[in-house]
Symmetry: C2
Subunit: 222 residues, 2 copies
DNA sequence: GTCTATAGCCAGATAGAC
DNA sequence: GTCTATCTGGCTATAGAC
């Protein structure tokens, strides 16, 4: 009899379908958004489940109802954060434009995007360094960027004499270093260059074009 | 009588002098070294006092005997880590060589140094981002790098037509970005470029000269 | 100065009412 | 699904013997 009740509840859920799923996703989503804020500000160890619950405006027990444990919740946040960053990196690698255009577009878009999500790079880099196996988990995901196409395009432009010789690995790291670092090193930059929030923001703004020029100056054959 | 014994013990310590001080510094130093390892690997929140004690091969209570609390111990580690990094940054700013030589020397020395302390950049950047007031504490220290001299040297070489125009802030950030980022982003670089520990090390090795060339190509008037 | 034992607290997780 | 109340373990910090 108990078995039958259990089954019919499942049937009911199945029939209700969409609506039930939507409700579930609403609360689940609230939790995920709150967890993003807290985890990205405090890190895995520094974050408190209570703080996440407060931020979401719900009860602490609900976190465990939807995501069994703190660790599982963290993994969900991390994956979702990386899924925001990966397409940004992909953009430069997988379209058909010239290397010069790739660099210009990437730099502009990346800095624009990150000015809206300033905690993202820090969060991802910190946790990748803490648990190196996380990256394995990400590599299996569809959409993990690959260097091959970028490399062949670059090599072709070098052999045609448009660009000076440079290794694809090195150039790629240079590009992301120049773009990501200002966000990772915000406190240091503000301290060195005596910048307040306003002048730091101006500094980032001008990098949207400055960085691309800097790179292209270096690699373009004169 | 007890009082007298106590006093004479202090006298004895005083007379032994150097030797006693050496012993004390030995234990204190052991703790600090162990704390560096653990804090740099796990961060403030992730580190455990027990693990630090194990690493130092002593008792957990001793940590509190020498450094009242976990926080005080952490601050000691952080300061000592930053004091390793700051002179590296200072080197490029405060000598009298040409901008080109500054960049060449800095890049070579910095990468060489960091290959011996690979956890250092990550640790410092992470904690600076977590507690922004830490940087205030550091700015008061003697030896906190200043940009003025670098800027005036740069501007002079630009006006003499040796270098293309560029803001000192922007160039400085570019230089440290290109040098520090490969350490901050190690897991990501290894994943993107399919590198193992050996090829990653080769990659860093070639950056000792590649990075300087990349920068100089960009700013030197052709 | 160095250890053992333990106090005291706090955070993650769960039981169980509704 | 959502809440309150509570268990449980682990961690910092200290008391106290030696």
């Amino acid at each position: 009899m108990l078995f039958f009740v259990s089954l019919s509840t499942k049937w009911l859920n199945y029939l209700v379908g969409m609506k039930n799923t939507d409700n579930k996703e609403t609360t689940e989503h609230q939790i995920l958004e709150a967890a993003k804020v807290v985890f990205q500000a405090k890190g895995m160890e520094g974050a408190r489940m209570q703080e996440i619950a407060d931020q979401a405006g719900i009860n602490k027990a609900m976190l465990h109802y939807y995501y069994r444990s703190k660790e599982k919740l963290f993994e969900a946040v991390f994956k979702s954060a990386f899924l925001l960053l990966a397409p940004q990196l992909n953009a430069i690698l997988n379209d058909d434009s010239s290397i010069e255009d790739k660099i210009k577009n990437f730099t502009f878009n990346y800095v624009t995007f990150m000015m809206k999500h300033p905690y993202l790079p820090n969060f991802i880099f910190q946790e990748l360094n803490r648990k190196e196996d996380f990256i394995q988990l990400l590599k299996q995901n569809t959409g993990f960027p690959k260097l091959e196409k970028f490399k062949s395009k670059l090599d072709s432009e070098i052999s045609r004499g448009i660009l000076n010789p440079i290794e694809a690995d090195q150039l790629f790291v240079n590009i992301i270093a120049l773009n990501i670092f200002p966000f990772l090193g915000k406190p240091l930059i503000k301290a060195f260059a005596n910048k307040d929030d306003k002048t730091y923001k101006d500094f980032l703004e001008s990098r949207k074009t400055e960085v691309a020029n800097f790179i292209i100056n270096s690699i373009k054959r004169q």
